[in-house]
């Protein structure tokens, strides 16, 4: 099953290496990993999407906790979430199909960010359903290149995943 983990880490050299090495060494299945700075200086937030049953997930979380630079891990899978991923798609678009593609882009409220003589580059942001949806419709035209950022997620409402310094 797919789980979304919000992981707060100290922004120290090698911390991402430690996490990815842990996943490969113990054979955990990772779908995506996205990292970036947070509201707090020195703290990086990593959104990990893993595909594991709940027993293995428990091990994943415990093993992550053993890393000295990992501060906090929240499994937010079952929280109400705002999920986003950004995706750039270079699609084969000769003049004959260009307008069809532009229609698809409009339906998904995506953006055309570059055009070549035979290609369009589309930028789309959204949750997994939306990305899968547009990719499915574009595939028949020929996707020449695809790059995705990996999923990020934030819990809706007042609940936060934050590092609160203890005394």
């Amino acid at each position: 099953m797919k789980h979304i983990l919000a992981v707060l880490v100290e922004n120290q050299p090698g911390v991402l290496t430690r996490i990815s090495a842990l996943f490969s060494r113990r054979g955990y299945n990772i779908i995506s990993i996205a990292a970036g700075e947070t509201e707090k200086a020195g703290i990086t937030r990593i959104t990990l999407v893993v595909d594991e049953d709940s027993e293995t997930l428990e091990q994943v979380i415990k093993q992550l906790h053993k890393l000295v630079n990992v501060i906090k891990i929240s499994d937010i899978t079952n929280d109400p979430l705002i999920e986003r991923e950004l995706c750039l798609i270079k699609v084969y678009a000769p003049p004959s199909v260009k307008s069809e593609i532009i229609q698809i882009v409009d339906i998904f409220r995506a953006k055309i960010v570059d055009a070549g003589t035979e290609t369009l580059v589309i930028e789309v942001t959204g949750d997994q359903d939306k990305l899968e949806g547009i990719l499915q419709l574009l595939t028949p035209y020929g996707i020449k290149e695809l790059v995705r950022t990996g999923q990020i997620a934030l819990v809706r409402g007042n609940k936060t995943v934050q590092y609160v310094e203890e005394e």
């Binding site: 880490v9 100290e10 090698g14 842990l22 091990q59 053993k66 630079n69 990992v70 501060i71 590092y163």
Partner: protein, 557 residues
């Protein structure tokens, strides 16, 4: 202003380190220069692997952090086996490696090796120090991390310029490690559940592991055992946490454990595991491990709980603290009569045994070493049959007495570990129970033992084989002894003499006692070369893939 090298040594002094083990080279020249007139004792080994195992043996024998130093590149990579060894057995170790100067990092410079990368999966934590200003903090953090919670090796990679550069930066008063907070005290509700389960059980067993020794919980274990009269099995790492002669101690569990211990775990209705991690050498086929038991697992490392076996009552905490809390929740219990008799019956029917004749058998040698040292000696072992005979026939009386490579099974560990143990415990007798194969993996350390007058005794159970591998070939590969015959072994007596110390050859049973006495009387390292029965096997044995209940008792069956 202090240089990086001075900061390292000051930090060591601050945390009470008086002995370090190491080997110099280009990238640690500044550090060695500072050591030159420092009161910290530096023991120069003859190989970096010797240094790291010695630091490990020192740590296990004393409970303090073991420290080793090596240069960059080949010096650092020579530490790798020893670091992995310490990691597997949760040994507090600080490895300091030299590194090429920061401006050369990443250029494949002379003797550059990415040692933090290489050791990533075998260290508890590691640092590559890029600025001397960070060094005071890193030194204290490293010590703290190595020695607290579940201990383990920490590596500090120290570029040459960082050793030379100076800073005003001082040691921090307080460490700031927001992601590192070991949990020492068990959850009261879980402890209550465990107490209830123990009170109700009809066939309880305690399985005590190395964590009990690390935590210093032997007193608590003894009190608990006597309060509720539960039989105890110990893992290899747990030998000695309950005295070997205690009536409720069934001995070692697992592949070469006693029949009684293996049957007891297979039949029990409650298993209290404390400071043990259910290694496959302990559990045998996991699907048949303690099949009838409710399992309580006490461990300071939450990740060990539920990793290999399903656990009914998990308790995360330090063994000492949790056992004490458990005792406080329990009333004295009577012996469970039937269970007690059942266990006793197994013990009497299937004791550890070997053929009693006039041949020189390795088990006899171990028993004699135990007897002639009043069971008090610190024993280190190599790996193979020698290790298992030491575990079976040397009755440990206290924790930290048997020092052995459990998790990694590193041949060549025992002798340097004995040197480290002797350096840390100068008033104790230290014996390395060795195999003729293993001892040759770090034999160069004889020079270290002689040089520093560390009177370690090496008892080689010389069977002319890589015995444990030969045993498997005999039992499971149709006696095809592929590359396990040790042709070309040296004359170990002459070897000892070549290093300027004593060697004694023992060919018969009668010579054993006088030889051990002579070794004990000699003020210096001694090699005892026991020419034992070449094809003796280690029994009992749980064959690979079998359950503990399928333990084979041996040739006399």
């Amino acid at each position: 202003m202090r240089t990086g090298a001075q900061i390292v040594l000051e930090a060591l002094k601050r945390v009470g380190v008086d002995t370090v083990f190491g080997y110099p080279g280009g990238a640690v020249l500044p550090l060695y220069d500072a050591l030159y007139d420092c009161e910290i004792r530096h023991i120069l080994t003859r190989h970096e692997q010797g240094a790291v195992h010695a630091a490990d043996g020192y740590a296990r024998a004393t409970g303090k952090v073991g420290v080793c130093i090596a240069t960059s590149g080949p010096g650092a990579t020579n530490l790798v086996t020893g670091i992995a060894n310490a990691y597997m057995d949760s040994v507090p170790l600080l490895a300091i490696t030299g590194q090429v100067a920061t401006n050369l990092l990443g250029t494949d410079a002379f003797q550059e090796a990415d040692i933090t990368g290489i050791t990533l999966p075998i260290t508890k934590h590691s640092y590559l120090v890029k600025k001397v200003e960070d060094l005071p903090r890193i030194m204290l953090e490293a010590f703290h991390i190595a020695s607290t919670g579940r201990p383990g090796p920490v590596l500090i990679d120290l570029p040459k310029d960082v050793q030379v550069n100076s800073t005003e930066a001082d040691f921090p008063e307080k460490l700031h490690l927001p992601g590192y907070k070991p949990n020492y005290h068990g959850h009261p509700r879980q402890i209550q559940l465990a107490a209830e389960a123990l009170a109700e059980a009809q066939k309880p067993v305690i399985m005590a592991g190395g964590g009990v020794a690390i935590s210093g919980a032997q007193q608590e274990l003894l009190e608990l055992v006597e309060l509720i009269k539960v039989p105890v099995v110990t893992t290899l790492m747990g030998l000695g946490v309950l005295p070997g002669d205690h009536s409720l101690n069934l001995g070692m569990v697992g592949m070469h454990g006693t029949v009684a211990a293996n049957y007891a775990v297979s039949e029990c209705d409650l298993l209290l595991a404390v400071g043990a991690r259910f290694d496959d050498r302990v559990t045998g086929d996991i699907t048949h491990f303690a099949p009838k038991a409710k399992i309580i697992h006490i461990d300071i490392d939450p990740a060990e709980i539920g990793k290999n076996v399903r656990v009914d009552i998990p308790i995360v905490g330090d063994a000492k603290s949790v056992l004490r809390a458990l005792i406080n929740k329990l009333e004295p219990l009577q012996d469970k009569k039937e269970w007690k008799e059942q266990v006793k019956d197994w013990q009497e029917k299937y004791p550890l045994n070997y053929k009693q004749d006039d041949k020189l058998r390795p088990q006899f040698v171990v028993e004699e070493i135990c007897r002639l040292t009043q069971g008090e000696a610190i024993i280190t072992t190599e790996v193979g049959q020698n290790q298992m005979w030491a575990a079976q026939y040397f009755r440990c009386l206290r924790p930290r007495q048997l020092i052995t490579s459990g998790g990694l099974g590193t041949m060549g560990y025992g002798f340097p570990a004995a040197i480290g143990a002797q350096a840390g415990c100068p008033d104790q007798v230290v014996f390395d129970i060795a195999g003729d194969g293993s001892i040759q993996m770090n034999i160069q350390e004889l020079a270290t033992a002689v040089n520093y007058r560390l009177p370690v005794k090496i008892a080689i159970l010389n069977n002319g084989y890589l015995g444990m591998v030969r045993q498997w070939q005999e039992l499971f590969f149709n006696r095809r002894y592929s590359s396990t015959t040790l042709q070309g072994n040296p004359d170990f007596v002459k070897l000892a003499e070549a290093y300027g110390t004593k060697g004694i050859r023992v060919k018969s049973k009668e010579e054993v006692e006088p030889a051990i006495k002579e070794a004990l009387d000699f003020d210096g390292p001694v090699i005892l070369d026991f020419l034992v029965e070449p094809e003796e096997n280690v029994f009992p044995m749980v064959p690979a893939g079998a359950g503990l209940h399928q333990v084979i008792r041996g040739e006399e069956e």
